[in-house]
Symmetry: C2
Subunit: 127 residues, 2 copies
DNA sequence: ATAATCCTTCCATTAAGTGGAAGGTCAAGA
DNA sequence: TCTTGACCTTCCACTTAATGGAAGGATTAT
């Protein structure tokens, strides 16, 4: 399968699939004599796997590790879980940061009249 | 004041202050004959303003707009509020996305035994 | 045969800095 | 006065995870 079809199957932009090949994340199964990338079913499954993992905001580095475990049939589920927990902690941290930010910014926005006058608690707070 | 002192006063890395000068966000008030950047109190206040705005995750572009309003003494607070509300919406959106992610990933992590066996709901879900 | 649609590689750009190299400047001590 | 150390300068490269585009080769349809 050509890269365009493979990208369609995986639901990824062609550019992204090519990028994943460039960085060695998901290599095409082969190349034609004229240099076209070939993707077989196994490589397309990997693309889909990466797409899902990315949608969970796993970094490319983490995707690489997860993909390694995905392929390693005698893996330990604890290895997978370790990566997932680490990522979960990261997400929780970000979520908390955003919540604090949201609350504080919400206060400021509510305190601001938002009229024609220059007086502004938001500017004051940042000054 | 030299850039190092100014950076200290603002609580920013020197590199960052130089970067802000490079992109025209906060220019030094002058230069010495030998090319050293000079920061007066007004420019240091701007650095602090930007630092605070950045800590609210306002983008550099937004910081530029806010800084413009900060300096414009006959501004309308509604202009400031508009930027802040827009940013707030963005933060809310991100927060919701993260929450969904966190909940889903939490389920997966809980479903995974995390032992020596290869069977793993996390991998299964991504496959 | 030719046009349209693929595909290739390579380069630039995005955001917001950070790190480092090569070299100029300044203040203090011997 | 010389030198050493701590500043400062500019310029280039690197980070993340792609994305956009140019120039040109391959394939397919008419």
């Amino acid at each position: 399968m050509n890269i365009g079809k493979a990208a369609d199957q995986a639901g990824l932009p062609t550019k992204t699939v090519r990028y994943y090949a460039d960085i060695g994340l998901v290599l095409p199964s082969s190349r034609t004599q004229t240099g076209y990338r070939n993707y077989d079913i196994s490589s397309i499954k990997k693309l889909i796997f990466v797409k899902r993992a990315r949608s969970f905001d796993f970094s490319i580095k983490e995707c690489r590790e997860l993909l390694g475990l995905y392929e390693e049939k005698n893996r330990s589920s604890s290895d997978v879980r370790k990566i997932a927990i680490h990522h979960l902690e990261e997400i929780k941290r970000k979520e908390e940061d955003l919540m604090k930010l949201r609350i504080e910014l919400d206060h400021l926005v509510n305190a601001c009249a938002g009229d024609d006058r220059p007086n502004c608690p938001i500017i004051d707070y940042l000054s």
